[in-house]
Amino acid sequence: MISARDLSKRFGEKEVLRDVDVEVARGGFLLVTGRNGSGKSTLLRLFAGLLAPSDGELAVEVERHAVGYVGHEPLVYRELTSVENLELYGRLYRVPERRERIGMLLERYGLWDARHERVSTYSRGMQQRLALCRALLHDPELLLLDEPFAGLDREGATLLDGELGELVATRTFVVASHQPERLERFATAGLALA
């Protein structure tokens, strides 16, 4: 599904990724590791199509509507409620049975009670959970998760673990983490960035 050869990315003079070779098969789970600043986020953004490579080749055989992305920012509008945010994305992604799906996700991630409050009132952990809801809302084939456990409390982490366990068989994952121990059991491939 993803195929990268000699993939490099520079920002001005600063080289962030150099000659990365990796393949992710459909249904696979690529675990990207490396210390801070090694380019994990940049790699995920390249896979998502948010950045263009400086050099090398990158092929991602999936369309935009089938990609779910969790980045460093939760990517939700702070002045809207979680329901309004998910409604927005639900409409943009043409999610079928939108209301039901939103309700189901909010409940599963423990956000149901706070659903009519503005995201600016949420804790970091709640915002991260909402980000996961957002990424999962349209049932994507490819999930690109950048430090998905960041900010989650134990309950949230358990929820995410469960979600990953359920989906890992049928979806393709690329997950970046600088604490990979949790995720090693899911991984079918690994990429360590310098």
């Binding site: 998502a48 950045l51 935009r64 509507h65 990517l75 702070r78 002045e79 994305y89 943009l92």
Partner: protein, 215 residues
Amino acid sequence: MTSYLSDVAVLARKDLLLELRSRDTVPAMLLFVVSALVVFHFALPSETAESDLAASGLLWVAILFTALLGLTRAFVAEREQGLIDALVLAPCDRSAIWLAKTVSVVCFLLVAEAFALPAFALFFSPVDGVTVAAVLLSNLGIAAVGSLLSAIAAASRTRELLLPLLFLPLAIPIVVGGVGASVAEEPGRFLGFLGLYDGIFAIISWASFEYVVTE
């Protein structure tokens, strides 16, 4: 086509809802436009203020700079919270983002002008139907070009500094059209020119927005 328009509607509704919640931009625009008009009164010797020509020029200066104020805020949420990523990732046409933003900017301008025009009539000289028509017509051009340039400026390091520099040369024809319509005996030509400007720049803004927000 309908899905495109519904994307635009969803995004525009989002922008308007955000403004209603935060009430950041429009009140500032209102206060700014009235303040600017008051400054103009003090800035001009009394004889010139009587003249229609100078007065209508001032109206357009006030509107342009108020628009700049609003446009600077146009992509602020997207920029500060990284949300432009989310919109670019979405399967919608990127030009729909531009169109939605243009629609919301036009709405903000309309609210600002609803205050500016009466204030102008009060402080300087009465406003006739042609002037109102010119102001309404110019909104599209200002919003269309401004939304595109605002996205460019949001991606730069200098942001609020860059937008006026990019915008003002492009706004000169709008001022010509607007002031001309107000003072000329035959305003038709100037109104037509404004329409031409709107059409041309709306089309190229619409077509090129994709290239501005993606890599």
